[in-house]
Structure formats: structure tokens, C-alpha cells
Subunit: 400 residues, 2 copies
């Protein structure tokens, strides 16, 4: 059986961990598996490289930053391959470039354009374990590029797509839980989840897999498994949606802390007005989420949206621009708020989720400040003082 496995930075943080993974790979190979292994930089290496760049300049040249950041994975692939060779197993390390990973787009946020897997196929047919540097590729100019946050997940899924095989993501958690177990200790682990749900969960702060990697898996139909490194316990499978899944209305609950909820009140309700507002927010670089609008008595409009606390300065810059153009506006702002989202493809066929949630909120006396919905999710902005109470009540109601 052919497999791509990815081991994250916390799984290869020390030499001893690298040796343990090597031993485990040898056992797997002896069971007849054909293995391509994608690794991240050891532990906090990438952060320490970033700190070095930061002590030179606050705005490092991005081509050079990519070269610097790509160094960590080169170290890991060399060490893991040495460990395999030392165990008497034929293995070879490949940089992103050598593995045929061609990228495009801007430095530090490149995208994979194409994978030329001929070399990989050859090495596999020679019986080698192939160790590939995650997070990196080579662009049209022949320069090393990196794939941005969570890029090694994307490398692994893309390689699995080009090799036509399953992809296993090994990390320091045992799989994906219906609710973050740090908040709701009784949370159950999800055995199977659809790509769509996982994408919503990634977006909603589950933080285990990068959404781009899940999207790529969906696009090429790559079965993905997420589980704990060197653990026998079963993890979570990310697969095409199936009928069993639709039985369950809600698969998971996502928590996003530290959001800002903004309401612009009594706006003049014209398309020009609204477009000017979103243009100013976009120009300032504010990533807006949870947009809703309500008509008010005098024919005007209340417009609400959320963004992250970290974008407060950008937000205020944008609001100044808007007031310069449209005149003074009454603005309501809640910072440090929390967003709670329920995700499930079951919502597409089962109605009534919103009704059940409103009933719980009424019973518990929880006030929500904003609600938005997508086809497979529903999200509420709440005061953080109600966070635990909301999570527990919803998790119990939907059996997460």
C-alpha cells in the first residue's frame, strides 16, 4: 500500500523523537507499505529563524525570508533520512524542488502549481522510503518559496494527490474533536468528517489542519487521516460525505475567541454607501466575517460585521476613512467577543437547528449579539462571560 505521511514540528522536535519515528517507519515498511514522508522543521525552529530575521529588520525581503525559513525542513529531512539509513533501511531525502513541487505566486505565501512526481515514483519503485521537505517548493524563477501557515499539510496532501494515494497527518492531538476538549472535557472524537465540515471547522479555529490542505484533498478526492504521532488510538478520517454522516445533524462546534463585533447604525441605505464601506475595510486590510444588516425604522440600515482583535488598528483606520467620506456615523463596538459556530452537513437536510439553539439560549438566559449562517454552519457572537455556559449547553444538546 502506498501512503503519504506528514509529521509536524512537535513530532520531530528532538533527535529522540526523530529516531522513534524512523523506527516506526521501518516497521511500516516491513509490513509492505510504500512510504513518502513529509516533515516540518524541528519544534520551534521556524519561530527562531523568524526572530533572527526580525532582529535585522521589521520588513525582511520576502525572497530572502523564504530562503531562511526553508532551512528548517532541510535539516529535518537530512536527520530523519540519516536515522533510517542507520537502521539499515534504504531512504533518500528530497527538498521541495527535488520532489518536483513547483509553486507560483508571491514569496512566503506561494501556492502549489504542479507536482512532477517522476523522481518520486522512481525512488519508490527502487524500494526507498522517500523523505520530503514540507512547506517549500520552487517557483518559475528557480527560487525557493514557502507555502505559508500550515504549508506542510498542503505539501503532504498535494503529494498524495499526485501519487494517487491516502494521506496521513500525524500531530500531537489524537484526532478532531466535536468541541475543543480544553473547553469541554467530555467532547467526543469525530471518527469520520466530510471535507466540507472539516473546512468549516478549520476556518472556525479548530487549528489542527490548514483549510487549504483540506480543500485540496476534496478537489482531488484524497482520503485524509488525522491522528496522534506513534499512537495506536484511532484518529479522524476526512472523506466524501456519506449518508451515515447526514444522520448526525451537528458534527462539531468551533470556538473563535477575541473577535470584535462592530455595528454601524442608521446608515443611508444605498448600494454606493455600502460598497464604499466594504471598500474602505478591504483597503485597510481588515478581514471581515459575520456580516449582517437590518433595516431600521427611519428607512436606514444597521450594518454589523466582525473581525479579529488583532485588527483593531486597521479597523479604526478604515472607520476614519468611512466617516471622512460619509460623515459622522454612530458606531457600536464590542471587543474581546467570542464566536461559537455549529457545523454539520446534516443541517442541509435537517431543518430546525436554529430553532433548537434559540430555545437553549432563551432557557439559559444567554444573549447573542449577531448570528450568521452558511449551508452547513450557523455562528453566534456572544459575550465571553457566557462562553463556557454556551459551549456546554450546545455540546450536550447536539451530543458532541
Amino acid at each position: 500500500m502506498r501512503l503519504v505521511q506528514k509529521y509536524g514540528g512537535s513530532s520531530v522536535g528532538t533527535i529522540d523523537q526523530i529516531k522513534s519515528i524512523a523506527e516506526n517507519l521501518v516497521n511500516q515498511k516491513n509490513q509492505g507499505k510504500e512510504l513518502v514522508v513529509v516533515v516540518s522543521a524541528m519544534g520551534k525552529t521556524t519561530n527562531s529563524l523568524l526572530a533572527k530575521a526580525g532582529s535585522i529588520t521589521s520588513n525582511p525581503n520576502k525572497r530572502e525570508l523564504d530562503r531562511l525559513l526553508s532551512v528548517g525542513e532541510q535539516e529535518t529531512i537530512a536527520l530523519l533520512t540519516m536515522a533510517l539509513n542507520a537502521l539499515g533501511v534504504d531512504a533518500i531525502s528530497l527538498t521541495g524542488y527535488q520532489a518536483g513541487i513547483e509553486t507560483t505566486g508571491i514569496h512566503t505565501k506561494s501556492k502549489i502549481k504542479k507536482i512532477d512526481s517522476e523522481k518520486l515514483e522512481n525512488y519508490l519503485s527502487e524500494g526507498k522510503i522517500v523523505i520530503v521537505a514540507g512547506f517549500q517548493g520552487i517557483n518559475e524563477a528557480g527560487d525557493i518559496t514557502t507555502l505559508g501557515r500550515g504549508g506542510s499539510d498542503t505539501s503532504a496532501v498535494a503529494l498524495a494527490a499526485s501519487l494517487g494515494c491516502r494521506c496521513e497527518i500525524y500531530t500531537d492531538v489524537e484526532g478532531i474533536y466535536g468541541v475543543d476538549p480544553r473547553v469541554y472535557p467530555e467532547a467526543g472524537k469525530i471518527k469520520d468528517i466530510s471535507y466540507e465540515e472539516m473546512m468549516e471547522m478549520s476556518n472556525l479555529g479548530a487549528g489542527i489542519m490548514e483549510v487549504r490542505a483540506v480543500e485540496l484533498g476534496k478537489k482531488y478526492g484524497v482520503p485524509i487521516y488525522v491522528g496522534k504521532t506513534l499512537s495506536d488510538k484511532g484518529g479522524t478520517n476526512i472523506v466524501e460525505k456519506n449518508l451515515d454522516m447526514e444522520e448526525k445533524v451537528i458534527t462539531g462546534l468551533g470556538i473563535t475567541d477575541d473577535i470584535i463585533l462592530v455595528t454601524l447604525k442608521s446608515l443611508k441605505n444605498t448600494p454606493e454607501n455600502i460598497s464604499k464601506i466594504f471598500e474602505a475595510l478591504g483597503d485597510a486590510g481588515v478581514n471581515i466575517d459575520m456580516i449582517s444588516q437590518t433595516l431600521v425604522e427611519n428607512g436606514g440600515l444597521n450594518l454589523s460585521f466582525s473581525c479579529l482583535d488583532t485588527e483593531l488598528n486597521l479597523l479604526h483606520e478604515a472607520l476614519s476613512t468611512i466617516e471622512r467620506e460619509l460623515g459622522p456615523i454612530e458606531i457600536e463596538e464590542h471587543i474581546h467577543f467570542t464566536k461559537i459556530s455549529l457545523v454539520g452537513i446534516g443541517m442541509m437536510s435537517h431543518s430546525g437547528v436554529a430553532g433548537r439553539v434559540f430555545k437553549i439560549f432563551a432557557r439559559e438566559g444567554i444573549r447573542f449579539y449577531q448570528v450568521t449562517t452558511s449551508e452547513i454552519s450557523i455562528s453566534y457572537a456572544i459575550d465571553p462571560k457566557d462562553r463556557e455556559r454556551t459551549v456546554f449547553a450546545l455540546a450536550k444538546e447536539f451530543n458532541l
Copy 2:
């Protein structure tokens, strides 16, 4: 003026040092210099990478070791280029491969086969400072290779040869001294030295520049300068020999500590015997030096040679093999001995150096156990207790 400059690991050991070098390069560029800068890994990076490999296996795969060791220079070129960009200067970093450095031979000890400098020429003509990773290249298989001990010197001289310009080697010493100043504090700095003398000095433990780099400089007529990083004091020029140099009989004195001096006594004097001995030593991997032979009364032969203390086990292995083949041999062995060498192209035209040395040894009561000569050097093996006395007496006599 076009220039290749090389900065060693101790010159780029910290972020502050890298920033200082960047400022200095900007000043040089403003004076109209076209600069190609070769850098080593920061400080002790290479040693710490070697230690990581060592904690995985005592015998790491050499291809993987090369990948691991080449990481340090990639870090330095990215950081130095960022520092230059942050100062508003156009600069670009190139790995050995991107700089067109093609290598051949075994991993960890590769040799430069060819440099394709088209890319370098283009960047220089665009007014960029080009920062190149030393110590590395790419082989026929497309794998990263390293050039062995002192490899960055070799990278720099080879680039200068291919660009047809001067090469400046910056390090933590002010140039090359006639005698190691730690042993003989009155030692004078050498202003000009010939390639040949420098090669003898490198071999003899001066330890400032790798002999391969000097050899390459001689082959392609590259003028080389060796001096202290960011210092105004003049260093040493390595150039073609000239008449001025020949005026001075001796240019430098080299000291090699911790050698073993071996004498095999009363051997049967046949070519087969002698060749068997050298074959066994070669097979065991002993690097022999200072070979001499003397006939003894009974028609037999005494054969003497030296090697390094670190090769003691290999030596004993070889001697066992020799005794198995030739029968028991009377062996005299001195360990921890010292070799003192006088180097000077003046010796070619001036005779009488050996005579002057013997006179000094007699006057000072210094015993030498072995003497060997080359065209431009003469070396003596002495007891280490006489080391300082010998160095001071010879340095005074020859005004070093």
C-alpha cells in the same frame, strides 16, 4: 573594481556582526566596487549540525550529511541579504547551485568542476551586491555537496577565478605571520607571500587558509588578500613570486604539534619490503610525512616517517600487518613530538640554510630526530620540550 570577498564563520557569528558587515559593504559599493560576497555558516553552526548528526549515528550517510551541513550557509546568505536590503541596497542571495558552482567527487569532500558565472555576471551588471553561500555546490546528480574543510575559501577563490578578479579573505586574524604569534610574540606580519610559500605554510599548520584554495589561486593567477574583518590594518597578499621575495631567504616558520615519529630498524633493503610497508600504511589510512631512510652497517635499512598523534590506532594496526608479513621488526616510536619547518622561495637560490640551522641547533644544544627537505622548505622533528627554544632561536636568526 570587481571583487570577491569572503567572510568566515567568526566574522558572521552574530546578527550584530552581520549588520556591521552589511554597512561596510554598502560603503564599499558607494566607492564604486562591484561585489560578490561569499559567507560561511554563523559561528559554530556547522559544529552544532555535526553534533546533531553524531547523536543519530556515528556514521551518517554522506549525501544526507552534505544536505545538513549546507543549511548553515543558506541561513547566513539570507540574513546578510536582508540586512543589505534593509539598508536600501539592491542585493540578492544565491546558493552554491544558483551561483553556478558545479562539483564532482564524493559527498563531504567534493571538488569544484566548473563555475557557470552567467547568472552572477547578470546580477552584477544590474548593480546588485551578490551574496553567495560558500562551502557548497551541486553535483551531476543534482544533489547538494560540500567542499570539505576550508571549503568557503575555495568557493571564493574559484568565483574570483571565473569572474577574473581579486579575492579578499576576511577572517579574525590580521594576516599571515612569519611565526605563530601565540608562540613567538615578536613575529612580524608578512606583506607579500608567493602561492608556493603559502601552500607550504598551509600544509605546515599555519591554519589560516586552506591549501586547496591557494593552489587554485596559483593555477588561475588570482591575487588573494588575507586580512582582518572590518580592519584598516594591512593584511597579507598572496601573489606570484617576484625578485623582492627571493631576497629574503626564509619567509615563515611553521609549527606542527602532536606528531608521532616512527623508525623501523634494520629492515632487509629490498624494494618489495619497502613497498609492502607503505602499502600497509596506506591501506590503514595513515597519512605519512617526513619520510627518510638511512643505510645501516649490516647492509640493512632504517626507515623513519611521521604521522599525527590522532592516527596512533591506525598506525599500530598497520605495524601489526607489516610484522605479520615481514616478521618481527625493532620499532622506535616517539609520540607528542613537534615538527618545525622553515619555508621560503629564497632557499631555491640561496644555499646554506641547513648549515645555519645546524649551527644554531649545536650552539643551543637542541637535538633533532629527523630532517626532511623540499625545494622551498626544510623541516625538523624535535622533542616538544625544545619547542619554544627552537622557535625563538630560528625566528631571530632568520628575522621572521
